[in-house]
């Protein structure tokens, strides 16, 4: 049996009831034993059994009290109520019990005392004294008569004379029996009125002999055989010689005196005995009463403990269950121990928790479903290429997807208003205005194209808005800058191809014609004509050549190139190209990241990129003092993989603000004699490598052009554009 089971057993009803029944039986048996009805020989054992039972009950109560104290210290639910009920129950049992015990002891004592009367007692004492006085007078009279006969006996010698003299003495004095003893107790002579008696009925005891030897006569009444009293007198007889003799005379008390004496003796003895038994009788009654009272008291206390705990247990369970429910535990079920009101209450609690648990389960399911839907929407929104922003009726951001923040290049936090957005990022002012305008309109859906200008250049967003049921709006927007750019690039490529085809063809006949004219007529003319023709034909040839170069450049730009992909040491390539452009007036510094060294690329075309950029930089710097070009490589990582970033920046005047948005387009140039194809070719090559590029003016001044090439392994993550025209298609 484990400790928990033992505790459950001890606080249960079985031990208390068992001890109570045992005690009842033991007290009953003890009471019987005290009355000498039965079990008298086991009185002590029964008494010990009672005491052990009481001790067991005390231990049981002590255990329960200690347990209750422990519950109180731990502030367990229901313990205070148990203590309070105990405070009611125990006095209710204790006070009447104490009263009954007090008055019972009083009643027993007074009742037993009332059996005895002082006057009767005194009368009996007086009667006894009177009887003793009367007997004393008789005794003295008989003693004197015996003494009177002694001289005669002293003179006798032979046994025959002794017996005869004893007979005469007995007859003369009226004794019933007379005996003469020798010193050693031997019977010297004996005379009795009973003819059949041969020996004396009594012999002097050692005490009597010692008394007589000391010279003191013995005379006393003694109970006679068959009732009555005999007077026995023993006196010394001083015979001649050294020997001492003893004369014993036995004489029955006269019948009348004997009866009276016996009556007085019997009455006195009986009363005295009862008087003496008064205290033991009280002791006996009080002992039984005390045991019963103590037992009743302990049983009452135990019962009070048991029933208080039993009554408060469901309340404690209820309180504990309520706390559990308050803490969110709806699985708690309380045991229904009874069918009374408490049982109904406990059952109602269980029904309530069942319903709450069911509701909770349904709510949890609904929440899980909502979360799944939310997660689904989040996933869909996260994988959309469009930015999505949900706005509340006042225009504040309610939620947005990651693409929205990426497109706008701001961290869209829920709760941020459109005004706040435009305040922190002025480039988004047009975007905010477009949305405000859209949601302020009456149309449930609206569409608007917004062009933003920032450090990354021109950005064109296509925004579509819809009114949400219940208030608020959802705005979906796409960055169509690349799309428009691609369309524009395709258009330019087409133009270049047509130019190459339509212009280059007539140029050769023009050039041949001009050379023919020059060859045929230059020798024939003289003077100013010859000079004029020479200048005119040369001009025609130069211009044709110039046109051809331009058309070839366009043709080269328009025609798709076959890529020769290989592993390129970018740093080595940069150092080689930079060396060609270094001069007294131009400082080229390199910041090369060892982690961004290798790139799979077309070495020749990558070299062309560097040539174009450094040529542009040198031309842009012109006569700028401390002209410097920095070439930087670094490795960057993003959501779609790792990239090699190649940055070329200078400390020149920077890109014109009105051209920075389309600086990579053909024919866009800041130089007087530029073809406008340098950066367009750079852009084309970068895109042929699957990369992206952008131009910006750093806050510190100058121009910066950044190219981002995907590193091996994630090339597929970026759209690879081998032929812009195919991409357009």
């Amino acid at each position: 049996m484990g400790a928990r089971a033992l505790i459950r057993f001890l606080v249960g009803p079985v031990p208390g009831v068992a001890v109570t029944l045992s005690l009842l039986v033991a007290v009953f048996l003890l009471s019987s034993a005290a009355r000498q009805e039965a079990f008298g020989e086991h009185y002590t054992l029964l008494l010990i059994v009672n005491l052990i039972g009481i001790a067991a009950l005390l231990l049981l109560i002590a255990f329960n009290v200690a347990r209750l104290v422990g519950h109180l210290r731990r502030r367990e639910l229901g313990s205070r109520l148990t203590l309070r009920m105990l405070g009611f129950f125990v006095p209710i049992a204790l006070i009447p019990l104490a009263l009954v015990y007090y008055f019972s002891v009083q009643f027993i004592s007074r009742g037993i005392d009332s059996w005895f009367d002082v006057r009767i007692e005194q009368a009996l004492n007086d009667a006894l004294l009177l009887g003793r006085t009367s007997l004393e007078a008789i005794k003295e009279d008989q003693l004197q008569r015996v003494r009177d006969a002694l001289p005669t006996l002293s003179e006798l010698g032979s046994d025959r004379d002794l017996v005869r003299e004893l007979d005469l003495l007995r007859e003369r004095a009226g004794f019933s029996e007379i005996t003469l003893f020798a010193r050693n107790g031997r019977v010297l002579a004996y005379s009795s009125e009973s003819s059949g008696a041969l020996m004396p009925t009594r012999r002097p005891t050692k005490g009597i002999v010692d008394q007589v030897r000391s010279g003191t006569d013995y005379a006393n009444f003694e109970p006679a055989v068959g009732g009555g009293l005999d007077l026995r007198v023993v006196v010394p007889v001083f015979a001649p010689g050294p020997s001492l003799r003893m004369l014993q005379v036995v004489h029955p008390l006269p019948l009348r005196h004997a009866r009276l004496g016996e009556s007085v003796q019997a009455a006195f003895a009986e009363y005295e005995r009862f008087s003496y038994l008064r205290a033991p009788l009280k002791f006996s009654f009080v002992l039984t009463l005390t045991l019963v009272t103590l037992m009743t008291l302990l049983i009452s206390v135990w019962a009070a403990l048991y029933f208080a705990q039993r009554l408060t247990a469901p309340i404690g369970d209820l309180a504990q269950g309520t706390r559990a429910v308050a803490a969110g535990d709806y699985e708690t079920r309380l045991p229904v121990a009874s069918s009374d009101e408490l049982g109904v209450l406990v059952q109602s609690f269980n029904d309530m928790t069942d319903k709450v648990r069911l509701s909770q389960s349904q709510a949890r399911d609904s929440q899980r479903s909502a979360e799944e839907q939310h997660l689904y929407l989040d996933t869909v929104l996260a994988h959309l290429s469009s930015g999505v922003v949900a706005l509340d009726p006042s225009g504040g951001v309610r939620t947005s997807n990651a693409v929205a923040s990426q497109i706008l290049a701001v961290d869209l936090q829920p709760g941020a208003g459109l005004g706040e957005l435009a305040g922190t990022e002025p480039r988004l002012q047009l975007f905010a205005d477009a949305i405000r305008s859209g949601i302020a309109g009456d149309q449930p859906e609206w569409e608007s194209e917004v062009a933003l200008f920032g450090s990354r250049g021109r950005q064109i967003l296509l925004c579509r808005g819809s009114r949400l049921p219940g208030g608020g709006h959802v705005v979906v927007f796409d960055d169509i800058t690349a799309l428009i750019q691609a369309q524009r690039d395709a258009a330019w490529a087409e133009v270049a191809r047509r130019l190459a085809h339509e212009i280059k063809n007539p140029l050769t006949p023009i050039q041949l014609s001009a050379e023919r004219i020059r060859h045929k007529y230059l020798g024939r003319l003289e003077g100013s004509d010859k000079e004029h023709l020479d200048r005119a034909t040369r001009t025609i040839a130069d211009q044709v050549e110039s046109l051809k170069s331009m058309v070839n450049a366009f043709s080269s730009y328009a025609q798709p190139q076959r890529m020769q992909m290989e592993n390129v040491d970018v740093h080595q390539l940069i150092e080689d190209v930079a060396e060609l452009y270094r001069s007294v007036n131009l400082k080229i510094s390199l910041q090369l990241d060892p982690a961004a060294r290798d790139l799979r690329a077309d070495r020749g075309r990558l070299r062309q990129v560097l040539n174009n950029l450094l040529t542009n930089a040198r031309q842009a710097l012109g006569t700028t003092a401390d002209a410097e070009v920095r070439i930087i490589t670094r490795r960057s990582s993003g959501d779609v993989g790792s990239f090699l970033e190649l940055v070329v920046e200078d400390n020149g005047p920077g890109f014109p603000r009105d051209k920075i948005g389309n600086i990579f387009e053909p024919y866009v140039t800041t130089k007087e004699k530029g073809s406008g194809l340098g950066l367009a070719i750079v852009k084309k090559i970068v895109e042929e490598h699957g990369g992206t590029q952008w131009a910006e003016n750093p806050p510190a001044g100058g121009a910066r052009l950044t190219m981002r090439f995907p590193l091996a392994g994630n090339v597929g993550a970026v759209a690879r554009i081998d032929d812009p025209r195919e991409n357009i298609a």
Binding site: G40, E41, I48, G207, V264, Y276, L277
Partner: protein, 190 residues
């Protein structure tokens, strides 16, 4: 013999408590002690001569003087020792019962033995107890043949169960009434 004293009702309660404590505390008041004795084997009989010092306690002496007769038991046991256990085997037992009472009118103590036709009277309690404590020529049957080694044990005690019913709870409870001698053993061989 003065019974005029007024009894306090709570003295009984105090006595109950005191009695309970005494019962728990001690059960071995020694009022009777063995002084001397011998056992003689005569043919198939055992003849016992012994002297015991019988001293009454105050409670028992008062009861005797107040008219309560006392019965004193002399218990004889024939035992066979067993080497493998502490307790001896009981072969046979006899009890000699004597009665001691006080005769108020004659102011004598009377002793009645089982075989005596009349009571013997003694002027003092000491004389009566001295007479009672002297066992002369008590003849007991010897054990059956085959019991070569045996013990004879003797003990004297007051028979509490012979007291009046009202007195017995107190006698059972208070140590003053637990008058008995220790067992005196004689180891005998046939």
């Amino acid at each position: 013999m003065n019974c005029k004293a007024k009894h306090n009702p709570w003295s009984s309660v105090a006595a109950v408590l005191a009695g309970t404590l005494l019962l728990v505390a001690t059960c071995a008041a020694e009022g009777f002690t063995f002084r001397e004795g011998q056992v003689r084997q005569e043919a198939d009989r055992l003849v016992v001569n012994a002297r015991l010092d019988l001293q009454l306690s105050d409670a028992s002496a008062e009861a005797l003087d107040r008219g309560i007769p006392l019965e004193i038991l002399f218990e004889f046991r024939l035992l066979k020792p067993r080497w493998w256990i502490v307790w001896d085997k009981l072969l046979k037992e006899w009890t000699l019962r004597a009665r001691l009472e006080f005769h108020a009118l004659s102011n004598l103590y009377l002793v009645t033995l089982p075989n005596d036709s009349e009571a013997r009277a003694f002027p003092s309690r000491a004389d009566a107890l001295d007479y009672l404590g002297t066992l002369s020529h008590i003849s007991l049957p010897a054990p059956a043949a085959g019991e070569d080694r045996f013990d004879l044990a003797l003990r004297a005690r007051i028979d509490v169960d012979a007291l009046p019913a009202a007195l017995r709870p107190m006698a059972y409870t208070l140590s003053g009434w637990r008058l008995k001698s220790k067992w005196k053993k004689w180891a005998l061989e046939r």
